[in-house]
Symmetry: C2
Subunit: 112 residues, 2 copies
DNA sequence: TCAATAGTTCGAATATAGTCGAACTATTGA
DNA sequence: TCAATAGTTCGACTATATTCGAACTATTGA
């Protein structure tokens, strides 16, 4: 069962993390994973072709934002929130909090 | 004395702020302003041509990261840190903290 | 009034990123 | 063994960003 390479914490680069988060689609993925983890890619596609989704997940993985475990045919994604927080304390939390009141496609009916 | 338009807090957009910060040169400007405010553009150029500097300052201003006041012939820049913090609590602080141990060109000899 | 200063604007060139269809790979379950 | 599933890779295209020189504007101080 082949797995992805994920950067170790000490290789996390702030510019790469900020860039990874500075895209509406990728930010929505991060928000959804923050609500429910882990998740396969499929339910997070949001109407996009698989190749685009795959590209964005690669950006998230390379930055260290997402960890993907291959289980059978599905790729299970989770946030590397603890690692991110140990390297860049408060960053992910601040980002998630910054958009928590904004609508999140696919989660319109989630009660608060 | 003509002045710039700066977006009001309620128009701040997280994606734009993250994008503004996700560039090495712009992040260095933000770090330098966090150390000493306000400053004109000139000492922050870092060897770049003026047109590039001007472009990056425009990105920072449009995102709401930097406030520029025109005083005579110099454009004095400061961080909109309080406003940023009221809109996106903890974000700027987390970003600055994330890189505080990294070298900052032009500040190599600052004692700690 | 005029030169110097500080920074902008323009336009073109280059680089980086995002999008998408089509072909591909690995795994599972029948 | 074979079809279905989940996602990747490739290559081409488009869009967005960055870079830079050159010409420009506004203000000041001599």
């Amino acid at each position: 069962m082949k797995q992805y390479d994920h950067p170790p914490i000490e290789d996390f680069d702030l510019i790469a993390v900020l860039h990874a988060l500075a895209d509406p689609y990728r930010l929505s993925v991060v928000r959804k994973l923050a609500i429910a983890q882990p998740q396969p890619c499929a339910p997070l596609q949001g109407g996009r072709p698989k190749s685009s989704t795959s590209h964005h997940f690669m950006v998230l993985r390379k930055a260290g934002v997402v960890y993907t475990e291959i289980i059978g045919t599905t790729h299970m994604n989770r946030l590397r929130d603890a690692e991110l927080n140990s390297r860049f304390p408060g960053l992910l939390e601040a980002v998630l909090k910054a958009v928590e009141k904004e609508p999140l496609e696919g989660c319109e009916n989630v009660p608060r």
